[in-house]
């Protein structure tokens, strides 16, 4: 079984003057994990990555990699390698020499290094590119070579600083899948920094959502989306509707809440850990609503409204449903499995009913 604290970040802070770029963060990353640091720019994710690489020293706290404290260990002695945002391909060296750059102290003979470089070129699907000059490469090729140059060192951890940011959309999506497959093949722990939630969701085993130097939540992509712990995370990942509410009590397994715009809500989200009193925010994802044109046969978790706006997106449609007691309309997403859904437009102002399952109404305290 692989270790769960392969990388251990313990009470780590980084201050730049009065700015706390990273503010007392503690968490572990497991061996062989594809772990993403997700957040808007300035949230501290890159600073944290640079501390792992050794380019920045923590102001407070310490970082352990494979049990070894990294305080004071310079970048060139750390068992990690990095893929830079702009790839940092050495412009005066050809592809072969770029990839072999870190092998000088490996103790391998030139023939062995050459063979390893060729293996790496196979791995990144650029065989025979060794003699190419650095300036003859496309963005995607640079990205792969940066990857090969780091992986040839067989690091314990590979750090990736938004490596797909400079690629166009189609190539980026292709590289996401390739990168994920590559990570499974080589089995190296990846720490991936991105501001793109879709990218993080596609590739990661676990994601740490960061904001203002703090980690808000660490979870699997599914859990982050389905059961975010706090409002900020729910808001950052995907689209969600918030309703101000207050808890009225318990009724069997479910918590009873009155929420502005939804009336009385019965929720089983959170299980036993759900709060039992006080003000709360009810949060429901757009696709968790069922939209119907006839009054449904439900006695709870149903609300009546009017379609105020509709957007037909082909496979699915987005509706904005105005309900009583809430200023903003509720965002609803529905799959267009049936063709007549196209006919619903913003002008139709049709009367609709929204229903939802008990466990889809999330109860968020902050």
């Amino acid at each position: 079984m692989s270790r769960e604290d392969y990388i251990s970040i313990r009470n780590t802070s980084k201050h730049f003057g009065s700015v706390k770029a990273v503010d007392d963060i503690s968490f572990n990353i497991g061996e062989g994990e594809f772990f993403s640091l997700l957040g808007a720019s300035g949230c501290g994710k890159t600073t944290l990555l640079r501390m792992l690489a050794g380019f920045e020293q923590p102001t407070l706290g310490n970082i352990y990699i494979d049990g070894q404290p990294q305080a004071g260990v310079p970048p060139h002695q750390r068992p990690v390698n990095m893929v830079f945002q702009n790839y940092a391909i050495f412009p005066h060296l050809n592809v072969h020499k770029n990839i072999a750059y870190g092998m000088r102290k490996s103790g391998l003979s030139k023939a062995e290094v050459d063979r390893k470089v060729d293996e790496m070129l196979e791995l990144i699907k650029l065989p025979g590119y060794g003699a190419r000059g650095a300036h003859q490469l496309s963005g995607g090729q640079r990205q792969r070579i940066a990857l090969a140059r780091a992986l040839i060192k067989q690091p314990k951890v590979l750090l990736l600083d938004e490596p797909l940011g400079a690629l166009d959309k189609k190539l980026r999506e292709q590289m996401q899948l390739e990168l994920r497959a590559l990570q499974r093949d080589v089995g190296i722990t990846f720490v991936f920094v991105t501001h793109d939630q879709e990218e993080a969701m596609t590739m990661s085993d676990r994601i740490a959502v960061m904001s203002l130097g703090k980690v808000l939540q660490i979870d699997t992509p599914t859990s982050l989306y389905e059961v975010p712990q706090i409002k900020e995370v729910a808001d950052f990942i995907g689209t969600i509707n918030f309703f101000d509410g207050s808890i009225k009590g318990k009724e069997g397994d479910s918590t009873v809440v009155t929420a502005a715009g939804l009336g009385t809500v019965h929720s089983t989200a959170g299980g036993a850990a759900a709060p039992t009193s006080g003000d709360i925010t009810v949060a429901i994802r757009p696709e968790k609503f069922n939209l119907s044109f006839q009054q449904p046969n439900a006695d709870r978790n149903v609300v009546e409204g009017v379609i105020q706006a509709a957007a037909y997106l082909g496979d699915r449609s987005h509706y904005y449903v105005q309900v009583e007691g809430r200023d903003a309309p509720i965002a609803v997403a529905a799959q267009n499995a049936e063709r007549q859904m196209q006919a619903i437009t913003s002008e139709s102002h049709e009367k609709v009913w929204l229903t939802w399952e008990q466990d889809f109404a999330l109860l968020l305290t902050a």
Binding site: N86, P91, Y101, A150, A166
Partner: protein
């Protein structure tokens, strides 16, 4: 695209246009957005300015081929005698040798110091960085004669004998700011991630400097060597104050001006220096620019 190509294309375009409401072709052939009325005075000014700047200099080579010891029109006839005199003059050759020696030492020394200064300026943050930079740049604005006197006083105080060595030190002093400026622009031109990537791949700061920084800074280094050599080679005032028994070429030239019959030889020497300097500076600039091509940055 050359002017002729441009105008023929415009003419072609006008000819192809069948609407007939176009202006006549001879007006069309002017560059687009080009207004003679507005730009003619500027053009004349530029011609006049360049003539004023360079014609006096061109008299130097002109009279160096003139078969007369008097620098005056009309020209008498063509001769290479003065160039011959120049080559046969051991004192002159000795001064030339001194100048090359000093120039070469200065080029290496100033470039060496300038490179590290530039590295510090572009890569590190440190207290007092602004004042330190200004201090390094100071010799650029202090008048040579003041600097010369100051250095003479200091040399005397320190008990240093005036020699080519003292000239070299003074020239290094004024060469460093130039070297640093050339190198700063070079180092700023490439991505500092390249150096980080090298350290990330297992090289120390020194090895990174040798394997990454130095090769990438190379065009800047060459440009700096050539530039500082030229500065030292042409410099007169500091050399005049700090020279001992051995003189450099500019001092020798100046000393010869007292003898009218030596003047033509000095002219031919001047012409040689002119041509030599011109080539060195051009080469330095071309190298510097060529280096800023696709090689320079790591970013796409």
């Amino acid at each position: 695209m050359s002017d002729t190509q441009a105008s023929s294309l415009t003419a072609q375009k006008a000819a192809e246009d069948t609407r007939g409401d176009e202006a006549p072709q001879f007006l069309q052939s002017k560059h687009e957005g080009y207004h003679w009325s507005a730009e003619a005075p500027m053009f004349l000014y530029a011609v006049w300015y360049l003539a004023f700047l360079y014609i006096p200099v061109l008299f130097l080579p002109l009279f160096s081929f003139n078969d007369s010891i008097y620098v005056a029109f009309p020209l008498k006839g063509f001769t290479l005698q003065w160039y011959g005199d120049m080559v046969d003059n051991p004192a002159l050759l000795r001064a030339l040798e001194n100048s090359v020696k000093v120039g070469f030492s200065v080029a290496v020394g100033a470039t060496f110091l300038g490179l590290f200064a530039a590295k510090a300026m572009t890569r590190y943050t440190m207290p007092g960085k602004g004042p330190i930079t200004s201090f390094i740049m100071l010799p650029l604005v202090v008048p040579g004669i003041i600097l010369g006197i100051a250095l003479l006083v200091i040399s005397n105080r320190l008990g240093m004998n005036l020699s080519l060595f003292t000239i070299g030190l003074a020239h290094t002093l004024i060469g460093v700011p130039f070297a640093m400026l050339v190198m700063v622009s070079r180092l700023e031109g490439f991505d500092r991630n390249l150096e980080e990537a090298s350290m990330d791949l297992g090289e120390t700061a020194l090895q990174t400097f040798l394997r990454i920084t130095l090769p990438l800074a190379w065009p800047g280094i060459l440009a700096s060597v050539l530039l500082t050599f030229t500065i030292s080679f042409d410099e007169f005032i500091l050399a005049f104050f700090l020279a001992g028994n051995e003189v450099t070429l500019p001092i020798y030239i100046w000393s010869q001006l007292r003898f009218p019959n030596r003047l033509p030889m000095v002219l031919s020497l001047g012409a040689c220096v002119l041509v030599f300097s011109f080539f060195i500076v051009t080469f330095a600039e071309v190298t510097r620019r060529r280096g800023v091509g696709p090689q320079a940055g790591g970013a796409i």
